[in-house]
């Protein structure tokens, strides 16, 4: 089983954790130790520092490492802090960045059409995935409102928590065909097999939450989930390959 992690970061957080993972090279060492082949990664400075600073650090760090794909952070663009969508997407492809993240609460904006309509419409048109983290900077109300406005958005809901969030994300899986959930913090006993039984294996992505969580926890849970080997392969890597493969190979400019 090949593992392609959709939810890992590196870099030094502003508050020191117990076991920081400072560099892309450190991350790769831990991936090798755990048996994770590839990862879609972001840099913690995108959240703790500033998106443009973190995005640049990320691009520079992953450039020499083809096993790492990037996920940049964006903001509302009324102040022209970012290029227009077409140019942004071209820069993403050049930097092997395949998805975007937002942290609306931490970065003080509303994730909706008024604030970010132009970019979100362009992401829908080009199927660029948006990753959101319930643990870090977005509420379920935000997610529900976002998808009501952009029902075709490819949206990956990460870090949805270990204390029982099925009643939050299952309605979204039912309503919106391009919504996915990752496995980071989805510790629920029997949770993966229940999701696969109800929604099929194509709506769940392996995500570790590393370095705040261990790679091995959800790897072991997925390896021994009571689902087919084909379903495990899709969750471990196939679904993410499909989603970001479209982005990395497509002509994203208008």
């Amino acid at each position: 089983m090949n593992f392609f992690d959709c939810n890992a970061f590196f870099g030094l957080p502003s508050l020191r954790p117990l076991m920081p993972v400072a560099t892309a090279e450190n991350l790769l060492t831990e991936m090798d130790r755990a048996g994770v082949e590839k990862a879609l990664v972001w840099h913690i400075a995108q959240h703790d520092g500033a998106p443009r600073v973190g995005n640049q650090l990320l691009a520079e760090a992953i450039a020499p490492h083809p096993r790492l794909m990037g996920c940049w952070t964006v903001l509302p663009n009324q102040a022209h802090e970012f290029p227009a969508p077409d140019e942004l997407f071209q820069q993403m492809q050049a930097a092997r960045v395949a998805a975007l993240r937002v942290f609306p609460n931490a970065h003080k904006f509303l994730l909706n059409a008024v604030s970010m309509g132009e970019l979100l419409e362009a992401m829908v048109a080009r199927r660029v995935p948006l990753f959101v983290s319930v643990k870090r900077g977005i509420t379920w109300h935000d997610v529900y409102n976002l998808l009501a406005e952009f029902p075709d958005l490819v949206c990956v809901i990460c870090d949805h928590g270990c204390w029982g969030e099925d009643r939050m994300f299952r309605p979204l899986l039912e309503r919106y065909p391009n919504v996915y959930v990752d496995t980071a913090q989805y510790l629920l006993d029997g949770g993966i097999e229940s999701l696969v039984a109800d929604y099929g294996p194509r709506r769940v992505l392996f995500g570790s939450g590393f370095p705040e969580s261990y790679f091995g926890g959800m790897m072991m849970a997925l390896k021994h989930a009571q689902i087919s080997d084909e379903a495990k392969a899709l969750i471990a890597s196939g679904n993410l390959e499909r989603i970001i493969g479209e982005v990395l190979s497509a002509d994203l400019a208008d």
């Binding site: 954790p17 117990l18 076991m19 130790r33 755990a34 048996g35 270990c162 204390w163 029982g164 099925d166 009643r167 913090q185 510790l187 629920l188 006993d189 029997g190 949770g191 097999e193 229940s194 939450g209 590393f210 370095p211 705040e212 969580s213 261990y214 790679f215 091995g216 926890g217 959800m218 790897m219 072991m220 849970a221 390896k223 021994h224 009571q226």
Partner: protein, 292 residues
């Protein structure tokens, strides 16, 4: 594969290890209002235990914690249904002293075939561990060297590290299991384990915080750590995967998964169970029973 050790290879391939059974010291059972459990009933939990190599689960039924009308009745029923796989904590809700009195009085008749200790859930019941309303259970447990599993959470005025220290000093004979290890107050948890030989660090919800396992092993010692999952909340395979991926030794993993719990439970368990455990160790389940 998530590690290179003997245990890592065996667990990764088979989902469990004959040489390293798991004693899950922190479980629950049944429905709870704010979460959907795919495997919340007794039979489904036993199935999970079989798949993960969990030899025994010590638990308190959700109704024992949150439905005073039922108190511990469903815990007792479940243990009687699976006496070789389950033991219960007698759950104490101090909001009802009259029920506490009744449940403590019933303990002797249910020990050790059903109960091995008490369970306190102070953050939820909103009464501090030091409150007099727990006293009948604390004193009963202290006089007999029983287990007490208390939910503990860093900074809590009900069961945070400062409160835990007071009761640890007051009841030195209790085998005091700090559920969730004063979650977040990791340095304080280590210090409590160092200061009180009867205090153990129970790992439910700790497994998802990378680095804490290594810290506890390094600073408190793996002899003071206990496996727990809140089952049916958390998948034991996740916890096992964390232990195998963490930078600790197989010896530490044996301590955490079973040796420490065996030392705690053996003096408390019925002779019948001890015989059953011995024979199971000699004759582990056949490979065909593995789940993968």
């Amino acid at each position: 594969m998530i590690g290179n050790s003997v245990l890592a290879r065996e667990f990764w391939e088979n989902g469990k290890s004959a040489a390293c059974p798991i004693y899950d010291m922190h479980g629950h059972m049944g429905d709870f209002h704010s979460i959907y459990f795919p495997r919340g009933d007794t039979a489904a939990m036993i199935r999970t235990m079989d798949e993960c190599g969990v030899r025994i689960l010590v638990f308190s039924h959700h109704t024992a914690l949150f439905s005073p009308d039922l108190a511990n009745t469903r815990s007792v029923e479940a243990v009687r249904q699976f006496p070789d796989r389950l033991r219960a904590y007698c759950a104490i809700n101090p909001n009802y002293p009259e029920i506490v009195e009744r449940e403590v009085a019933s303990f002797a008749g249910l020990f050790p075939d059903v109960y091995v200790g008490f369970k306190f859930l102070s953050d939820y019941h909103q009464i501090a561990l030091t409150d007099d309303r727990y006293r009948p259970a604390w004193e009963y447990a202290d006089a007999r060297g029983l287990l007490v599993l208390a939910h503990t959470w860093g900074g809590s005025r009900f069961d945070g590290e400062d409160v835990v220290r007071q009761v640890a000093e007051r009841y030195p004979n209790v085998k005091f299991l700090l559920g969730h290890s004063c979650h977040g107050a990791w340095d304080a948890a280590v210090q409590l384990a160092r200061d009180f030989p009867n205090v153990y660090l129970e790992l439910t919800a700790v497994f998802d915080d990378r680095g804490v396992i290594e810290k506890f092993v390094r600073e408190a010692g793996s002899e003071r750590m206990l496996f727990g999952t809140d089952l049916p909340w958390f998948d034991p395979h996740h916890a096992v995967g964390v232990l195998l991926n963490a930078d600790i030794s197989d010896d530490d993993r044996h301590n955490i998964c079973h040796r420490n719990a065996e030392r705690l439970l053996t003096p408390l368990m019925a002779e019948k169970w001890r015989v059953s455990r011995s024979s199971a160790t000699v004759s582990p389940p056949p490979p065909s029973a593995a789940t993968d």
